[in-house]
């Protein structure tokens, strides 16, 4: 049981191990707060859609399962989008089109297809919780590193003093690829050391 939860946090980490969901990972992690908000939005969408898919898994005819998953996912994505627009307009503006784009995020459809459609709700929720929390820490780490180098701050708090010269490239798309590549390398290195 516990293993299902832990898998998504490290062993099958969605970003660093499976390299899934690259679109939000690379595009919105320009700052720690953006990474956090995207992570929270994904926690909401993934857990609700996994739960519901698992609940109705026995009623879904296999021919149209992808369509059903997509409708369910899109429902929760739109809810998350409406919520951000209504209560956090500045974050909604910063994330831009990437909130609606969660619909096509491979992680969410992937979990629905690979896990929650085959397992009871309790297990499905444990799995989705693990994966979405894994996604969250990945996004926050990526966002923090990019914000630190690109703006000298983390969560808007000044970390590096005035002597620090901002590396503009880190908040540009190129910086996302550089930091992601670096982190995947570090995590592979840690993994190899542990064996």
């Amino acid at each position: 049981m516990k293993n299902v939860f832990k898998k998504g946090l490290w062993e099958n980490h969605p970003i660093f191990k499976q390299l899934l969901g690259m679109c939000p990972t690379l595009a919105v992690t320009t700052s720690a707060i953006n990474g956090l908000s995207m992570g929270l939005a994904i926690i909401f969408v993934l857990n609700f859609s996994s739960g519901i898919v698992s609940l109705i898994r026995k009623f879904i005819p296999p021919q149209v399962r992808i369509a059903v998953y997509t409708i369910i996912i899109a429902t929760f994505v739109t809810l998350a989008d409406l919520f951000l627009k209504a209560f956090f307009p500045s974050i909604s503006k910063a994330l831009g089109p990437y909130v609606p784009l969660i619909v096509v995020n491979c992680i969410i459809l992937g979990r629905a297809e690979a896990f929650s459609s085959k397992n009871p709700p309790k297990l499905a929720l444990l799995d989705s919780l693990g994966v979405s929390l894994g996604f969250l820490w990945g996004l926050v780490l990526l966002g923090s590193l990019r914000e630190l180098l690109g703006a000298g701050t983390i969560f808007g708090i000044k970390v590096l003093g005035d002597f620090f010269e901002k590396w503009v490239v880190m908040v540009l798309p190129a910086g996302a690829f550089l930091v992601l590549g670096f982190l995947v390398g570090v995590i592979n290195y840690i993994e190899r050391k542990r064996r």
Binding site: V64, A67, I71, I72, T75, L79, F83, A86, P89
Partner: protein, 179 residues
């Protein structure tokens, strides 16, 4: 029988989805509209702090002060920047010859470079700027009342702002003359 089940499940799921969404949309709708309106109003107050009353006319706003005198007009201009569209809200005096100020609503310029078009320092230059014969940008300290200084290493972004404004102002002046 099989087809019937497919149709039934898909319909049910869609109905559930549509129902949930319309319910929450109804709840959020008002707030979202308010947010958007507040954003525009806040920008207007930044451009002209002494505004008391805003009157919306077709595609622009009229501003009035405490005594009910016309302060000027607010327009929205949009055009191509260095990396994407730039949306600018700007105020014109009633005689249409001088700017009240500008606010950048949205842009996608390079952070740390072109993004400086949204900095106070750059926007400040447009306060009480003459728009006749047209706004000009220099790479050094400006000397005439219709000139601004472009941002170092971001000439393209600065030029875009100036061009967007010039184009829109030209259009406005022609339209107002017709009346």
């Amino acid at each position: 029988m099989k087809t019937l089940r497919v149709v039934l499940v898909l319909t049910l799921v869609s109905v559930f989805s549509a129902g949930t969404l319309s319910f929450f949309e109804l709840l959020a709708e008002k707030r979202i509209a308010e947010n958007e309106k507040r954003e525009i109003e806040e920008s207007i107050f930044t451009i002209v702090p002494q505004t008391e009353k805003i009157e919306e006319v077709k595609d622009y706003y009229k501003l009035f002060d405490k005594e009910g005198d016309l302060l000027g007009y607010i327009f929205l201009a949009e055009g191509q920047g260095y990396q994407g569209p730039v949306k600018i809200l700007f105020g014109l005096k009633p005689n249409l010859e001088e700017l009240l100020g500008i606010e950048i609503i949205s842009h996608q310029e390079t952070p740390g470079l072109g993004a400086k078009i949204d900095s106070g320092e750059f926007k400040q230059q447009f306060r009480r700027l003459r728009v006749l014969p047209k706004i000009e940008y220099l790479k050094k300290k400006p000397s005439l009342p219709n000139q601004i200084q472009a941002i170092t290493a971001a000439t393209v972004s600065s030029r875009s702002v100036v061009n967007i404004l010039n184009k829109k102002i030209d259009q406005i002046r022609k339209e107002f003359k017709k009346r």
